[in-house]
Amino acid sequence: MAQPANTRPLQVSSTAMDVGWRKAVNLKLRKRDVQRMIANVSIILLIGLYVQVRTGLFYTTHNLEAVSIQIAVVTIVASAMCLVMIAGSIDVSVSGTVVLSGVVAGLCVIHGLSLPVAFVIATLSGVVVGLVNSFLVLGVGITSLIATIGTLYVTQGVANLLTNGLPIAGLPLSFGRVGSGFIGGVPIAVPMVVVVVAIFVAIQRYTVLGRYAVATGSDAKAAYLNGVNIRWTTTMCFALTGAAAGWGGVVYASRIGTPSPVLDNDLLFQVIVAIVVGGTSLFGGEGSVFGTFLGSMLIGVLNNGLNLLGVSTFWQYIALGMLLVISVGADTVLRRDSVYRWRRALFGGRKRQEAGRTAPVVQ
């Protein structure tokens, strides 16, 4: 700090805190988060542009509808799981919950329940899985990764038991409406994803739960000492993730039309990639639901673009893997001090803003 030694060690830096424009600039969006979001949005647009130029098929209504239907499940699940990861845990049981909930929804309809009731029960089955997870993590004290691997297998097993390992056939056509239907000319998936993402963005940014999740994930002991109820926080995060995975399962089953007890491992990894590419830390404390949304859009657009370009599935796996590694790697490398100086030398960049901000000593 370039402050002159002075006889009054206590200073009031009043201007820095009162100026309105700073509040506007701040918007609680941290600089690095903004950079990452801009990067992700540009990559999404660039992929779209490239595919459009090459094939002329990307920016068509039909294709964009297909993309939004494809990313719906990943986005819904990832938005909620982002909260769990901010709170310093992880929930890998979501793909099991998706399968279980889809099967539950199908069975409920087969047994004569109306669609809304079946969907609510299926979503609640997800909440139950979430509560079991939080019990294992908090009550028993198992690390969340191990606990949720356990419930991942258990949910998959239960789904197979319920259906004898076979897909559920003979569902009414209306069952498929939620996953692949249209409302007012747009896929139902579009407003649904918007609403779910909006809910979780709001929870993360504007509620006590979101703030406590950051506190719990950043330093659970410090959070506890400050009176944060870390058990409530973790439980709520797992329960919400269970609910989202439950609803995601409904959408997933509905899109396929025949709920199947077969696990979709791709789904789990896409969810994790979406969250991590979106800038959420695996160690808790930082992350953003909106970034996660962009992450899952990126995955969806990448997969779709490669499909349109006729790239084989094998290469698509490689592309997805490289997306994860490059995205996280670039962020890590760019944050190194040496690279930062190098970047500043190349692109100018601003000097430390602190010097300009420091207010004169108030006498």
Binding site: Q11, S13, R22, T207, R211, A222, L225, G227, V228
Partner: protein
């Protein structure tokens, strides 16, 4: 043998007058023969402590004397195995740090217990967030503008050197972090501030700022309990000093009645009980 007429008469009026004379100013917090064991290890066997209104009270002692344990009992971070804690003469149980806050006790822990990924203002309101009006408060919606405004107000009132309440604690210097932790403890109507080694991790200039901050806190009518290894600092800022040794309270004296040598003697067991 000389028998004093008043004490032999046993008059209630005389007793009460004597009592009122010795108990002024009355203690706002008392710890009486507190005990704490960790398995077979006795951390505190006879902790006695008394805090008066608007005083700075230092707890000193060698490593393992039980200072931190005594402090954690007061902060509600630990529960005593024996003895009692009285606030305003009433026996209380301080179940957890949140309960301590209800009694007006706020603690600045040695590791500060700040959340790196939250900004200074959010840290000040951690665990007691302000919510929006009822329909929204049921959903736990934060009143961010109000909290930010109050945080700025508190920072100004305490004259602490934080550049902006919007700055993440992650990027702050040791002194700034200390200032945030102290501001959090002092704000919002607490009356007893407990500080565990407030200057241990700080440089000379920053320690200076914390000492001044303690005086500032006292000037605002609050009481401060502080643990410190730095006896010169203790002698500068403390009104009274309690010495602990091997889990027992050796003595409480006023700063004027004692000297650095006396205190060191009591800490090491050369003098005292």
């Amino acid at each position: 043998m000389h028998v004093h007429p008043v004490s032999s008469s046993g008059s209630p009026a005389a007793w009460s007058r004597t009592a009122s004379v010795t108990e002024t100013p009355s203690a706002i917090l008392e710890v009486k023969s507190a005990e704490k064991h960790f398995g077979g290890v006795v951390a505190l066997s006879d902790g006695n402590f008394e805090l008066r209104p608007n005083e700075v009270h230092a707890i000193v002692g060698d490593n393992g004397a039980g200072k931190s344990t005594l402090l954690k009992l007061i902060a509600g971070a630990l529960q005593p195995d024996g003895g009692e804690i009285l606030i305003d003469g009433v026996r209380v149980t301080i179940a957890n740090p949140k309960a301590a806050r209800v009694f007006g006790i706020a603690t600045v822990f040695q590791d500060l217990a700040l959340i790196d990924h939250l900004d200074a203002g959010s840290n000040m309101f951690l665990g007691r967030e302000l919510l929006r009006r009822p329909p929204l408060s049921w959903l736990g919606v934060l009143d961010k503008p109000a909290m930010r405004a109050r945080a700025i107000e508190e920072v100004h009132r305490l004259k602490v050197d934080i550049r902006s309440v919007d700055q993440l604690v992650l990027g702050m210097s040791g002194g700034q972090r200390q200032a945030v932790a102290v501001a959090r403890a002092v704000a919002f109507g607490n009356r007893i501030i407990v500080m565990d080694e407030p200057t241990a991790a700080l440089g000379v200039r920053e320690s200076r700022a914390v000492i001044d901050l303690i005086k500032e806190i006292q000037g605002q009518g609050l009481s401060v309990i502080m643990i410190s290894h730095s006896l010169p600092e203790v002698f500068e800022v403390a009104d009274r000093i309690t010495v602990l040794r091997l889990g027992k309270t050796v003595q409480t004296t006023t700063r004027q009645q004692t000297s650095l040598t006396d205190i060191v003697g009591m800490m090491t067991g050369a003098y005292g009980r």
